[in-house]
Amino acid sequence: MNAEIRDIAIFTTLAALAATAVMLVPGVAVAWVLARRQFPGKSLVETVVSLPLVMPPVATGLLLLWLFSRRGPAGALLARAGIEIVFTPAAVVIAMAVMGLPLLVRTARAGFEQVTRRYEQIAETLGAGPWRVFSTVTLPLAARNILAGAMLGFSRALGEFGATIVVAGSIPGRTRTLAVGIYSFTETGQDRQAAMLLVISVSIAFVAVLASNRLARDA
C-alpha cells in the first residue's frame, strides 16, 4: 500500500470521526426535543432533519455547495472572516455530518422515548432540576442508543460520496476520501489504485458491522 492510499484511508477515518463529533451534540439535542416536547412546527423540524436521508446525496451536496459558496448565505458570512469551506477538508466533514445526522437523531430519539418519564419524575421529586435530570437520568439511560446512533452516523460518514464530491471535490491530499477516491481513480482509468481503496473500504465496513453487531448483542 503506497503513501497516497494510506493517507486517503487515514484522512477519511479522521474526517468521519470529526463529523461524528460535530453531529453529536446538536443531534442529541434535537433528538431530545423531538422526543420530549410538543411545539408548533414540530413536524416541519422532523421533515427537515430527515431530508438528507431521503434526498439523493448529490442533491444535498448541491444545497451545501450553494449554502457555502462565496455568494451563498453561510459562505458570504464566512468569507468576511476569511474562511472558505468549499473544496476544503472542512467541507468533507460538513458533508459527512449532514448525511449522518438524520441517522443519529432517529436512533437517539428512539432511545429517549424508551426512557420512561417516570424515572425523570422520581428524580424531580428528589429535588433535581431539569439539567440534572437530563444529565444524570435521561442521558445515561439512553446512552446505549445514542452510542448506536453515533456509530451509524460514523459508518454513514465513512462511506459518504455524493454530497462530498459535490461540495468538497476530489482533491488529492486534501479532500479525497475513500469513496470519492474510488470514483476518481475509476473514472481516470487508474484501476489499481481504485482496487486498493476498494479493499480498504470493504475491510473497514467489515470491522464496523462486526463491532456494531457485538454492541447490539451485548445490549
Binding site: 419524575q121 422520581i122 424531580e124 421529586t125 428528589l126 429535588g127 433535581a128 432540576g129 444524570t136 445515561p140
Partner: protein
C-alpha cells in the same frame, strides 16, 4: 406531626374524586378499593398530577392553589415519593440511588437512615440484584435522604412477601417516630392502615366515605 389541608378535585375522563381531608397527623392512611383514585390523590400531592381545582397545603406550605394559580413545580415541593413500582435508577447502585437527592436542610443523617432501614450490607450492590423488600427499603431511604416535609408511599407492602412485611412496617414506624417524618400512604390492606397510621381516610365512589382514627374507619374484619 404535620398539618394537612387537602381539598382538591381530581378528574380523568368519567372519573371524579373529591378529596377533602383537613387533619393534623403523623401518619395518614388512604384506604379504598382499587380504582378509587388513591394513587392519583397521592400523585396530586407529589405534583405529578394536576387536580382540576383545589388546594394542597402541608405544614403551611401551599403546594397547590387553583384560585391563586399556584402550582409548585415537583422539584420544589419537598415531598418524598415512593411509587408502587419503586423505580430505583437502574444505572446507579444502592448508595448512588440513596444519595441522589440534594435538597438543603432537614436531611437525616445517612448512617441513621442506613441503620434504620438495614441497608448497610447493600450499599454497594447493583439495583438489579435486590429482592422486593430490599428495593422497597432502598426507595424509602432515597426519598428520605432528600429531606422531605412529608413521605408519600404507594402500597409500601405490596412488593414484599408476607414474612418480610414486618420489616417494612418496622421501618415505617421508625420513620414516623425516630425520624419524625410525616407519612401519607396508600393501602388496600386494613391491617397496614391499623398498624402505622394515626388517621385513616376511606375513599369510595368518588369521595371521602369516612375519615378518622383507623379503628373507627376500617371496615369490620
Amino acid at each position: 406531626m404535620a398539618a394537612f389541608e387537602l381539598d382538591f378535585t381530581l378528574q380523568q375522563g368519567e372519573f371524579t374524586l373529591d378529596f377533602i381531608v383537613h387533619v393534623e397527623a403523623r401518619a395518614l392512611a388512604l384506604f379504598g378499593p382499587s380504582g378509587s383514585g388513591k394513587t392519583s390523590a397521592l400523585e396530586a400531592i407529589a405534583g405529578l398530577r394536576a387536580p382540576r381545582r383545589g388546594r394542597i397545603v402541608v405544614n403551611g406550605h401551599v403546594l397547590y392553589e387553583s384560585d391563586r394559580h399556584i402550582n409548585t413545580p415537583v422539584r420544589h415541593r419537598r415531598t418524598g415519593y415512593v411509587p408502587q413500582d419503586i423505580l430505583l435508577f437502574p444505572h446507579l447502585n444502592v448508595r448512588e440511588n440513596v444519595t441522589y437527592g440534594r435538597r438543603e436542610g432537614n436531611r437525616p443523617d445517612l448512617h441513621v437512615l442506613v441503620d434504620l432501614l438495614e441497608l448497610s450490607a447493600l450499599m454497594d450492590r447493583r439495583v438489579a440484584s435486590l429482592s422486593g423488600g430490599e428495593r422497597q427499603r432502598v426507595a424509602m431511604a432515597r426519598a428520605l435522604y432528600s429531606g422531605p416535609d412529608v413521605l408519600l408511599l404507594d402500597e409500601p407492602l405490596a412488593a414484599v412477601d408476607l414474612p418480610r412485611r414486618r420489616r417494612i412496617v418496622d421501618a415505617l414506624l421508625g420513620i414516623r417516630d425516630e425520624l419524625s417524618v410525616p407519612l401519607i400512604y396508600v393501602t388496600h390492606l386494613p391491617e397496614e392502615a391499623l398498624t402505622v397510621a394515626d388517621w385513616a381516610v376511606l375513599i369510595d365512589n368518588g369521595r371521602i366515605a369516612a375519615s378518622g382514627p383507623p379503628r373507627d374507619v376500617m371496615p369490620a374484619d
